[in-house]
Subunit: 159 residues, 2 copies
Amino acid sequence: MKAESASKALQDQGFRLTRQRKILLDVIDKSGEHLDAERLYQLAQKQDPKINRVTVYRTLKMLKMGGLVDELDLMHHEGDQHYYETRAKGEHAHVICLRCGKVEEFFGEPLQRLRKQVEETFGFQILIARTEVGGYCAHCQVLRERELEEAAKSAPAGR
Amino acid sequence: MKAESASKALQDQGFRLTRQRKILLDVIDKSGEHLDAERLYQLAQKQDPKINRVTVYRTLKMLKMGGLVDELDLMHHEGDQHYYETRAKGEHAHVICLRCGKVEEFFGEPLQRLRKQVEETFGFQILIARTEVGGYCAHCQVLRERELEEAAKSAPAGR
DNA sequence: GTTAGTGCAAACCTTTTGCAGCTCT
DNA sequence: AGAGCTGCAAAAGGTTTGCACTAAC
């Protein structure tokens, strides 16, 4: 269970393992991924209705600094909130459909290659790397085309 | 002059070329890159003291939709504002030093490779791709190490 | 002359901060 | 016991919206 090793890592870094933090780690662990602060807050409330939104923010900040979660933007497709996922599964890019919002994950050598080249080119020490790709998924490409045709019909567009 | 072709592109998309927009395009063009809304506003004010912050936001949104600028986060190193740069210079990653804030740009084949693989793997139609890398630049790695030593000295840290 | 765009004020959303009281270790 | 953490209320920072007026086409 990942939540356990995360707890351990936190304690090793000198953080206290409070009731609230246990709950939050548990929710993040179970839920899998791409939670924003608000959603995490809502889920945590089911286990402790008195938990405070501020505690969620503070815990996320701590987890981020501690290197246990990564922060994502997902192309700001739904707004300017941040999303979080555990760092466990290895480096990957996020591919976001700007029409339906579906998020795919891409693991693949170009990411390692990029990392290496950046390190070599600039003598840079990488701590975080984030790649986000926005566009239309296979499914939405079709729908999108239809939508455009519709639009062209109803407003024949001068120009 | 890039600002001119951008003007053209805007007009072709049916947007009006107002005094304010001309100024903003000009500032973005001349300044080069990585402006956030506030800074763009400040620079624009030098040419028109009455220009409004809201107009800057609206113009940026338009330019983004029109595909003329790209939006960056630069790892939220300075806060949660967005940065903008013209789309002219081709795809590149941004490499941000989390200590001194310096931003390097990395052009290189892994980016094209990644793009291609994402398209092939998911049948995805890419509209935007953004890669941001955070860590320490060559210079700051040294300074960082010194800082850590200092800290260790003054607070010998149990654990 | 129309319609899109601007400026102003006010709202909005997400996140952070100050502080008194509570709780892990 | 005491530093670290929580909850609450309030503020901050960045961005958006409603509306009357103005300017580009």
